[in-house]
Symmetry: C2
Subunit: 440 residues, 2 copies
């Protein structure tokens, strides 16, 4: 049997604690699977004094994760500190420079620095493994990098943020507002005190950036992602979606189009019958369309100590038994520079909810603007409130009435131009709600 | 760059043809991913003269796959011949003995001979890879063997046969009988002329046998699997399931119980809201419950040339870049002898449909027998036909009326004993329909 595989774990939050616990619990199985013992030998965190509920006295303590990364006593740095720059990046860079393997869950760091770090790892002949960084416990990195080696991927679409899916699920099932659901999510620990990063789509965008590179064999291009969050979704939108046969999910989508790779994060209507529409609560899911396999959907927990640690340990086991390939499947030098598909050229159906001022001519004016932009309407739903109907039986109050338009496939450019005209015409009381529709 | 990785493909049906096409189409990407060229150099099939729609003249032809397996010109045998014994097994054994790697889609062979073949491969230091053998294009072997390395699996449940799921889906959606759906499935090429192997659950059982070994680290024990098919499911069962909030799926289930590993293949009621209930048509799905990751569900095509070839090529790419571990994750010598949990001890809810002779005392007699076996009933649904209600308003005709009992969790032993008593009492006109319920 070969020498033990020695780990230094940086970051001792719930994931770090869970990794240490799993490595201990699965000691025998991991040794048998990897052909060598797998052991945590060192740990690093900010506050040595904090009680973490488990005995860490058996491990060498480092105040500085960079010093741990360079220690001759470890073979692999497990980076669970987080953050785009700072100690996480410093420790990972130091580990690679010192010829150590790296396993990380850090999507923010990789979305910004992944290409340079992957190139450095390849040059040093070490692993840079990041299964836990993209969809928690779902093995989507392994699936894209290894299981679909014979495929050309055409699209990847995922629910990649459990906080957003939890909020949308409760809004849908209980008719609550975004603000109320967010408060509950914070109370339950599903959302941070500052929820911006999750609810405005940035977390999803980081994950999507990594998946896009893996799926299409392109360099990471996080800046190209069009990002919209869920904070403007209303209970009325969810109700209308339901009536029209859809659910609203915050999707990260990357697709190969004629004009390049399109990457977008936005609330999206998906048919209720689709696999991805069934995914409720904090669960994540990824659907991959590819030429040979056609369609695969992976569903599982996208966050949490146990599931994230499961992905981290999977990477550790792969590296321990010698699986040290290019971090993104193809060597960085072989990744394509992605041609960015401009969002204006996005093609698809749209849901447009307008607060139409209830007076003669409004509907005709709106319909005319849609026609001028060459947009065909699949359906129009007008919901007049009961209060308005009673107080103003002739419909001349000028009060706003919600009108929902569902379009056939058109372009983002056409939609934006029509919406701009409709706003300029003064027929609507507030900016329209525009939600993209994914029909397959 | 290392030497090319040279493949000999045995079996040139739809999967073999698709593998050859993919290897050609993905030539550059595979070379970059694997660090060496991947090439088909030899092929073997029964009939050289048959037109396969593609030019095979560039490959060495072997009438005998065993001779190809031994050829010094190949590094890896791709076995797509099929069958438990015969040329498939002979070729695989010959390849391993000659120090060649093996990639196979042959579940029947592995269910019977997998342990011996895996041990031989380990001793020879060659790969025996079989991603395509368990759920077509779904990467469940890789997920169990690698992605869940840090987990203890508690249950695996799958829709592993597209033919059965297609038939059940159409029976459910269109109210058709099993026989009618089977005819359509045969006409569409989804079912064989002799459908027994698929519809009676044997194909699912072979796949389950492999997944059980991977999931629980146990030796393959295909003979221990309790197998029931779908040929006795009626439109009434599907209608009753629907009314009660369930769908009926042919599931292969393996679970760790107090009395050992329970393996069963049978029509099973699953809650409509579960991920697995959403899987319709020829699609397959596998749900894995494990301690760290909690629950993962993988959904995708379980058969067909492209999807199966996708899995085969994934194995080829892994082997080409040097991933040559124990075929079942753990070395064969480290696999546990599975303790077989007797089916009598199976615990769960049951659906029991009885054709009750419509006369006084029948209901009381049945209820008494259930009580004697210590079975609690969650619901009782009696459906009296309209015809019977008109012709026999007092309900004394003695004609059979369908009565459905849904039980709380009980044991298979209790159910069998109660059903035996009820039959002996003469209250029912035909043997009862008994369907297990999976509630989570």
């Amino acid at each position: 049997m070969s020498k033990p595989f020695r780990l230094g774990v940086a970051g001792l939050g719930t994931v770090g604690a869970s990794v240490i616990e799993i490595i201990k619990r699965q000691e025998n199985a991991l040794a048998a699977r990897c052909g060598r013992a797998v052991r945590v030998v060192a740990v690093s965190a900010r506050d040595r004094g904090r009680d973490r509920g488990s005995d860490l006295s058996g491990y060498a303590w480092f105040d500085d994760p960079v010093a741990m990364a360079r220690s001759p006593d470890i073979d692999c740095l497990v980076e669970l500190v987080g953050g785009t720059d700072g100690p996480a990046k410093a420790a990972v860079d130091a580990a690679i420079a010192a010829g150590k393997h790296v396993v990380t869950a850090n999507k923010a760091m990789l979305a910004s620095h992944g290409m340079g770090q992957a190139a450095a790892a390849e040059a040093a002949g070490v692993a840079l493994a990041f299964e836990a960084s993209s969809a928690g416990g779902i093995p989507v990195v392994k699936t894209l990098r290894e299981a679909l080696a014979g495929n050309t991927v055409t699209q990847i679409a995922g629910i990649l943020n459990g906080t957003c899916n939890y909020i949308l699920t409760r809004m849908e099932l209980e008719g609550l507002t975004f603000a109320d659901c967010l408060k509950d999510a914070q109370a339950l620990g599903y959302a941070e005190a500052d929820p911006t990063f999750d609810v405005e789509g940035f977390d999803t965008a980081h994950k999507l950036a990594l998946l896009t590179a893996l799926a299409f064999g392109t360099e990471i291009d996080a800046d190209a992602i069009h990002v919209e969050g869920i904070s403007k979704i209303t209970p009325l939108d969810l109700k209308m979606a339901d009536e029209l046969g859809y659910r609203i999910k915050l999707l990260g989508v990357a697709e190969r189009t004629a004009s390049g790779i399109e990457q977008r994060v936005s609330p999206t209507m998906v048919p209720k019958s689709s696999s991805i529409a069934q995914v409720m609560g904090v669960t994540n899911a990824v659907t991959i369309d590819a030429d040979a396999v056609r369609q695969l959907t992976l569903v599982g927990p996208g966050a949490g100590g146990g599931p994230t640690a499961s992905a981290v340990v999977s990477d550790i086991a792969d590296v321990a038994r010698g699986l040290i390939g290019a971090p993104f499947g193809l060597p960085v030098s072989r990744l394509d520079k992605p041609a960015r598909a401009p969002m204006q050229r996005h093609e698809g159906g749209y849901y447009i909810r307008l607060a139409v001022l209830d007076r003669p001519g409004a509907a005709a004016g709106i319909a005319t603007r849609m026609a001028q932009a060459d947009i065909s309407l699949e359906s129009i739903v007008q919901k007049r409130s009961e209060v308005a109907a009673k107080s103003d039986p002739k419909g001349r109050s000028g009060q706003p009435v919600p009108v929902v338009l569902i379009t056939y496939a058109t372009t983002e450019g056409a939609i934006r131009s029509a919406v701009e005209q409709i706003m300029a015409d003064g027929h609507i009381a507030e900016p329209p709600q525009v939600i993209r529709i994914e029909r397959d």
